[in-house]
Symmetry: C2
Subunit: 414 residues, 2 copies
């Protein structure tokens, strides 16, 4: 492909799309020319700093049937974005996309299609925005056997949880995040973990070479995390973050997404605001940390333009075979459980008994001063156990009539 | 090159060389076969876990004149390693090297030679060992305009300085590092900054696209840092690290290597032991942090094998033009200066006067309790100034007869 300029079409001219156009116009990377912009109601999108010969269109056929070389898909979601990506690849074009959901659910078949038709499919922006985790893993760690990934992959959750560290409640911070444009009106994809899950599936494919079914990965929402949980976290020298993790264990993979207690000396505790952090552990190279801006127009656009530059330079990625792998078993982890009770003698004994029945050992009990006995919060930490055993114990504990709230448990990252 | 197996020769079977062989034998990456090992007095190196058909030799011609496809140079230094790399490239072979000095001083001509002869030259292990900074920058950030690099690029210095944080003196920790094999008998390359400088030159070429003359970059040794400097650093909420930095400023580059005060909330303050950390700042993507094991047999070997895998997969790197760039001007930075005096009235006045003559403003004065007036250490911090102006002020201050030691100044990283 080297030699002539490659024609680039943008599908979607929102925050990321206009940032991609801005970088292409400002930096003028060699071998690339923006020629088409597709958007619904495109007239309101036209920008005067885009070269006059760029075609603005609201008919997708104008792009798919054109002689464009690379289609940049920034529409998001499975439908119609998936059909458009497929049509572009069928036509022998290359595709650059930031669409984590599409790559998580259909990446393997789309890569196969790209190979068959002679195009490239690149998706560096689909995971951790402007942080080069994908080339870092695909190129830079190709010589290791990666056994574990742990990451903060969702900027919205990180914004909310790092704000809650200061004492605010979830609902208030969510509203603030929505006001700032960091969270959607319907925040489910972010706070319930589905966005991070899609990214974890992509990283598992590239790093662990394991194709996971996204819907098999247990996700837990951060909506139940309360301000008081950060107070108890501090007692444990921890903070709380949404952690997406996957680990090879024999021929299977353990994986989960959800809020966890993270020790303050872990690199995963350092991300502030919308930052992302990914920790990759290799059998030979040990731990490698990547950190930076995981979202936002400009950082995501850097990942997109980097993919475009790689295609223009004829840079091929290392393609490793991945194989269908089942989610097997559960992480063995310490847990912290928050109770709120109307105090009376025998509560700890009953909780301890229910835990002991499941062979779970109590590690410590914390109680913050300043609460009356009629509405008393306290926290119990337990030695490593699987979440399902703890759930069985909690099912029994939840029947105790002294409980004023459902107990809330958090896993503790080692 | 895809299709048949590529034959790999190792030049050097020390810590890194044997780790490379180990990974090649254990993971058996597709498309690569170890065929030759060169080392002086090779008989004592032979390992029984290496396949029996590998040729062990102490004659370099046995490799250079063979049908080997890729030569892995792990000998280090400019001579004879440089001649061997050149001969291999001349013969149309590809070369993978961890030799930062060779790439810093002769990388551009060697890359030109590789291109002309159709081979690849890869050196992912030359900077930050097992941390994929080079592919991260070359592939993953190709779409940004990187304006600044700040890094902890030398594991030996980081080991020494992070140990000194606990109260130990330089000479004692150096001895410990030598005992552990982290420091050479002659530690000059590491502690005086030449190792980090070579890596900074390579990173500047790839990230800033600026070819710097290594010998133009000012280097300052960490040997003068004393345990007490960490006590004053704590007062400033800082620690001390060897920092290599380069920054685009107009058409020129500011660059330096040496000990600096680093705020505790900077990712550069988090590296412990022999870890490396690199912070790359882009005009569009903001700050990206890479961190992990910068040295050691296995992590460095991961970078080498990753380069081999990339060559085997026909993965081409993005080649950006760099251009000869001068080191221009100096960083404008806050400084901290440690004095040890026999106390008498008027000392601060005289120091303040000498600083004021150079238009340098005093920011604060710290004095730790517990010292007698005959041997009194204290620290003066000054507002941003260039090092040369401070040097002129210190030249005058050094003439004061109350001074018991030469004042010691450290720049403060913003």
């Amino acid at each position: 492909m080297a030699g002539r300029e490659l024609k680039v079409a943008l599908l979607g001219f929102g925050t990321v799309g206009s940032s991609v156009a801005r970088i292409l116009c400002d930096l003028r990377p060699q071998g690339l020319a923006l020629t088409h912009v597709y958007n619904r109601n495109v007239a309101r999108k036209k920008a005067d700093w885009v070269p006059a010969d760029v075609v603005w269109t609201e008919r997708i056929e104008d792009v798919l049937r054109s002689d464009v070389d690379i289609v940049v898909e920034l529409v998001g979601g499975l439908d119609p974005a998936g059909e458009w990506v497929k049509a572009a690849l069928e036509a022998g074009k290359s595709v650059v996309t930031a669409n984590k959901k599409l790559i998580a659910f259909h990446g393997i078949e789309l890569e196969k299609l790209a190979r068959a038709k002679g195009g490239f499919l690149q998706y560096g922006a689909a995971v951790a925005g402007g942080i080069p985790v994908i080339p870092g893993v695909q190129q830079g760690l190709a010589g290791d056997r990666i056994t574990r990934i742990e990451g903060i992959l969702n900027g919205t959750c990180n914004f909310i949880l790092s704000k809650m560290e200061g004492g605010a409640e979830f609902a208030d911070v969510l509203k603030e995040a929505q006001g700032l444009g960091y969270a959607e009106a319907n925040p489910t994809e972010d706070v319930d973990g589905y966005d991070a899950r899609a990214k974890l599936v992509i990283l598992s494919r590239l790093a662990l070479r394991a194709d996971l079914d996204p819907e098999e990965i247990p996700c837990r929402s951060i909506t139940e995390v309360a301000a008081i949980d950060f107070e108890y976290a501090r007692e444990l020298n921890c903070t709380i973050r949404q952690i997406a993790r996957a680990e090879l264990r024999g021929g299977e993979v353990l994986a989960s997404v959800g809020p966890m207690l993270v020790p303050k000396d872990s690199p995963l505790a350092w991300s502030r605001g919308t930052e992302n952090t990914v920790l990759v552990s290799g059998q030979y190279g040990g731990d490698v940390v990547f950190s930076g801006h995981g979202a936002g127009g400009h950082p995501t656009a850097v990942a997109v333009v980097s993919d475009l530059v790689n295609i223009a330079h004829g840079s091929r990625k290392v393609e490793m075979l991945s194989r269908k792998t089942a989610i097997g078993g559960e992480f063995l982890l310490r847990h912290s459980i928050r109770f709120v009770v109307s105090d009376k003698p025998g509560i700890i004994a009953e909780i301890a008994l229910a835990l002991a029945e499941q062979k779970i050992n109590i590690d410590a009990i914390f109680q913050k001063p300043g609460y009356g006995s009629q509405n008393l919060p306290f926290v119990v930490t337990v030695e490593p156990c699987v979440a399902s055993a703890l759930r069985r114990a909690l099912n029994r504990i939840e029947k105790m009539d002294c409980l004023l709230e459902k107990p809330f448990d958090l896993q503790i990252l080692e």
